[in-house]
Amino acid sequence: MALGNDSLSTLVAKRLALGLLLLLAISVVIFAGTEMLPGDVAQSILGQSATPEALANLRTEMGLDRPAIARYFNWLFNILQGDLGTSLSSGRDISTMIGDRLNNTLFLASFAALVSVPLAIFLGMIAVHYRDGIVDKLISITTITTISLPEFFIGYLLILFVAVQLNWLPSSSLIYQGMPIGEKLTAIALPCITLVLVVLAHMMRMTRAAILNVMSSAYIETAQLKGLSPFKIIFRHALPNAVSPIITVVVINLAYLVVGVVVVEIIFVYPGMGQLLVDHVTNRDVPVVQATGLIFAAIYILLNMFADIMAIISNPRLRHPK
């Protein structure tokens, strides 16, 4: 690794700076992605049959006649002040539209994470313990199967059997503010299970690979040849070195969770950010798409940055420099 002679704090600071730079760059890409392409927002609103005058008027009204760079900085400056603009289709303030929905999405995603992360690590360890045995093979086959399944297949399968035929849980997950937490949890049970199933296998398989990688190190053999008990070998020698790769695995999958939530929200008609995004893509409501896209991308980038920083911190070479 090209770590140079930097100290731990310098490296963390560098990674933070890189993350911020990346966020800035992403805002440029998202802005450019919607603004530079043929057919501008005015055209989208008024449709192909609009008269040139109407188009020109609307463009002036929306400030589209100004150069793109000026509009970008204006947009960015407003976002930094918490003003995400107004929706084209409804004329509502985007920040208020997003507020509750962001909470709902984070609630669903974090609950799915709370279930899937410990479960995946536990199952990954089981797979390592029984490696090359029946349990491991079974886990391996299930993994290949579940990572190949589209989210909607799992989701509708659950709805059909658990909600419609068995009538155990509601098929759509309507939640509202002030809903008692128990009811809220019942409402999100199915989307939560779907998300867990979607990320679980992959996370488990990567955890297994990460632990096996550590277990094949020479220092594990040293520990075995010292006559240590299997328990001590795993907890004292394998785990401290497996933490960093496992954190990476977890965060990669959490980042996916944030994205997978989009589809799951549509399946279960869950009032979150994903549904907001998809609805407004269909409406071609560009300001809303930009704002929600930026928030999704930001969460994704922050998670990845967190993983990198944890990896830096857990590296003994950096914690204890020469």
Binding site: S217, A218, Y219, E221, T222, A223, Q224, L225, K226, G227, L228, S229, K232, R236, H237, P240, N241, P316, R317, H320, K322
Partner: protein, 546 residues
């Protein structure tokens, strides 16, 4: 104390399962019917080439088989009890407490996440042999005994904070700390530079003597084992070839294989006199750096005559391979020039003519990665013929066959792929590829260091014959002084990027020496008993004189 040997191995057989093509698995025998006894306080050396099964045997003393290996027969008696019949828990009580292990690569064998001290005392605490305080105090004593710097605080450090030689000694401390009856040393000095090796070897020997532990010392280097072992067993492909006292093996070997190992590279080539003509290669005042300012080479000048061999010798980090990169044009130097066959070579590879490139060929250390695995031997050797001389078709094929004959492989290899060849055969093909360009100079970068001694010997003899026949000059880069003696006409000694000594072989290898060359030369183990003690004693005397 009982009068039976501490360790008795009887009729040991070990097999391994290898998966061949498809899902079928095949059993191969790694170790076949090996027996030996080891008494308390004695040292047994296990010697053999790679694949001889010596590490596998060493680990069996701890009832340990690496994954894929299976102990298929025999007994391993520790204090008269067969540990192969032990339960897991009983085996654990042997490991680390009664029998300890020192691995080849200490850098990988220490856990990067824990302090050295905690790892050193771990076995003693696990087996409840000492209290933590006692163990730490004993470890401190051992650090001091093995010459580790700042022994009181050494255990506070992490593995990455100390050097390779120190780690290897710390690994020995780790094995000694629980006061075991037997230590298995698995190539403990192989990864070290020669000047570090002698120090580690001396401290290991000292520690064995002082603590009275028995040792199983595994190595491929007979000269090393001769310094430390009471008895030696020679292994070849899992079978015992010869087993006897060190004196018997070194001075009166019975088997021809053992005799070959003892006499390997003891011959020396006659040095050729310098001709009157100008040198084929001369580099002058070379400065070079990879990043533009940290100089890896400082003011290096040397020359080489046509048809002769110049060896550049030095330890890792001496800059010898960097010099090869400068000469080939891969690394343009910051200063200095390279004159080849009377003309100044452009410093950049891209500016050199095809003819200049043809005259100067290269052979690499790792023949495995020096050949494209997707090309046949015929394509590999044929390409330079086609590229430089525009020859193709049947004529090219005939030339390839000629070359295959010259490297003693023959026509049947022409359509094979590199993976189907042994290490020595691969290196021969690389030599043929260089030869195909009809060069005046071949740069040989550690061409024998990845090979077993007898195979390496064959390569060196081949190179000598080819030099006689085609009048090629060799620039031979190596860290191995035995190789240097065997093939050089002149020698350049490098140390930390500078040339410390350069001249004809007879001059470089005779006194008066500079300090570094003297240390380097005296550190090379010689195939005689008692060499280690004599060398250390004479160093001590010299230090006293100064």
């Amino acid at each position: 104390m009982s009068n039976q040997p501490f360790l008795q191995v009887k009729g040991l057989c070990i097999s391994a399962q290898v998966s061949t093509t498809g899902s079928k698995k095949k059993n191969i025998t790694l170790v076949k019917d090996v027996s030996f006894d080891l008494e308390r306080g004695k040292v047994l050396g296990l010697i053999g080439e790679s694949g001889a099964g010596k590490s596998t045997i060493g680990l069996v003393a701890m009832a340990y088989a690496r994954s894929g290996c299976k102990i298929s027969g025999g007994q391993v008696l520790v204090d008269g009890v067969d540990i192969l019949k032990h339960s897991h828990k009983q085996i654990r009580n042997v490991r680390g407490a009664r029998v300890a292990y020192v691995a080849q690569s200490a850098a990988a064998a220490f856990n990067p996440a824990h302090r050295l001290g905690d790892q050193v005392i771990e076995a003693a605490l696990e087996h409840k042999l000492m209290s933590r305080e006692d163990a730490l105090a004993y470890a401190d004593q051992l650090y001091a005994k093995l010459g580790l710097p700042d022994p009181e605080n050494f255990g506070q450090r992490y593995p990455h904070q100390v050097s390779g030689g120190q780690l290897q000694r710390a690994m020995t401390v780790m094995a000694l700390c629980a006061k075991p009856d037997l230590i298995v040393f698995d190539e403990p000095t192989t990864a070290l530079d020669v000047t570090t090796q002698i120090e580690v070897l001396a401290t290991i020997k000292q520690a064995i003597n002082d603590t009275g532990t028995a040792a199983l010392y595994i190595t491929h280097d007979l000269a090393v084992v001769a310094q430390i072992a009471d008895d030696i067993m020679v292994l070849q492909q899992g079978e015992m070839i010869e087993y006897g006292s060190a004196d018997h093996i070194i001075n009166h070997p019975k088997e021809s294989y053992t005799a070959d190992l003892v006499s390997v590279r003891s011959h020396e080539k006659e040095e050729k006199p310098d001709p009157d003509s100008a040198a084929i290669l001369s580099v002058s005042n070379i400065d070079a750096a990879y990043d533009g300012h940290n100089k890896i080479l400082k003011d290096v000048s040397l020359h080489l005559h046509a048809g002769q061999t110049l060896s550049i010798v030095g330890e890792s980090g001496s800059g010898k391979s960097t010099l090869a990169r400068v000469i080939t044009g891969l690394l343009p130097p910051m200063a200095g020039e390279t004159i080849f066959d009377g003309e100044t070579l452009p410093s950049k590879l891209k500016s050199r003519t095809k003819e200049q490139l043809r005259q100067l060929q290269m052979v690499y250390q790792m023949a495995d990665v020096a050949m494209n695995p997707r090309h046949t031997i015929g394509q590999i050797i044929g390409r330079p013929i086609e590229f430089y001389f525009g020859v193709s078709g049947a004529e090219k094929r005939q030339k390839v066959i000629d070359l295959l004959d010259q490297i003693e492989l023959g026509e049947k290899y022409i359509d094979r792929y590199p993976a189907e060849l042994s290490g020595g055969q691969k290196q021969r093909v690389c030599i043929a590829r260089a030869l195909a360009a009809k060069p005046k100079l071949i740069i040989c970068d550690e061409v024998t260091s990845a090979l077993d001694p007898l195979v390496a010997e064959g390569i060196l003899q081949l190179l000598s014959r080819l030099q006689e026949k085609h009048d090629i000059a060799y620039l031979f880069i190596t860290h191995d002084l035995a190789t240097v003696r065997a093939i050089s006409d002149s020698i350049a000694v490098m140390y930390q990027g500078s040339l410390v000594r350069f001249g004809k072989k007879s001059e470089v290898l005779s006194p008066p020496f500079d300090d570094y060359t003297e240390m380097l030369l005296s550190s090379v183990p010689s195939m005689e008993l008692g060499w280690l003690e004599r060398t250390l004693a004479s160093r001590k005397m010299q230090a006293a004189d100064h």
